[in-house]
Amino acid sequence: MPNVGAELASVPFGKMIYDMASAIARSQVALDKASIQLVKVLASTTFDYVPDVIEVLQPNPRTLPGVTDSDGNPIVITGVQVSTNVGTAFPLTLLQAGVNPTFYAFTNSTIEVKMSISSTQESSNTLSVGVSVTASADFLFASGSVTSHVNFTSSNKYSYSVTGSSSMSTTLAPVPPPKNMMPRFFLVNAMDPSKITISQS
């Protein structure tokens, strides 16, 4: 008879868990390396950043030539003059601008094993017995015979099957950048060097 406990015990849970954990660890390393590579790309990708555009509105009253009021005085209309001052552009990296790489982490992993065990047993026996008697008699002699047969048939059918399936699933979620993998920004105010601001994404 099948032993369900023994079948379950034969499932290599330990190896499955180890293989999965190992695959997750390798994947995590690869993902982290890709994100670190992206930090380098973001830190080296620059664009020209215009910090500010100053627009100054100033009054600009003027008269319309040939247009006067009823007293003959020229009509003064209000006007405005816009003077624009564009700040000097300077190179800014995407990392400084606020673009951060996405880091990923495996948050939840599941191993599911399904097993189906079935066994059937059929046995059948047949027995047949036959006896035949023949006798003959004549004037001088007599004869007789007895024959018998025994047929015995025995059959046993035994089937045993184990089917199993396993599935592994894991969840990958974006997480904030680890502090040790992100650069720190030091802002030194040249007008007051004693004030240094340190920030990190």
Binding site: A34, Q37, V41, S44, T45, A97, V99
Partner: protein, 94 residues
């Protein structure tokens, strides 16, 4: 994880036909162009389409990015992204 922001890095020197070709691939994959630079493109893309974009010969890397709201120009970038996105999204009337 569906739609995410990615930086698509170019392979080699920048030129206009190459940049257009990569942008075309991104649009074919259902992505949106958020900002184009000389070294790459910032896009919004379904993460299942990343391999298709990555397979373009002029693409060196496709990496997920996020916008840090405390960044020096985060607000400005957000406006640029939104403006470019609005030109590519068609809103259908019910």
């Amino acid at each position: 994880m569906a739609m995410q922001m990615f930086l698509v890095g170019f392979n080699g020197e920048f030129n206009q036909p190459m940049s257009r070709s990569v942008q075309h691939r991104i649009r074919q994959c259902g992505g949106y162009i958020l900002m184009v630079m000389r070294t790459g493109i910032i896009v919004a893309l379904d993460d299942v389409q990343v391999p298709a974009v990555q397979s373009h010969p002029d693409v060196s890397l496709v990496g997920g990015i996020t916008l840090n709201p405390h960044g020096y120009a985060a607000e400005r970038l957000q406006h640029i992204f939104a403006e470019n996105l609005s030109k590519q999204i068609q809103v259908k009337a019910e």
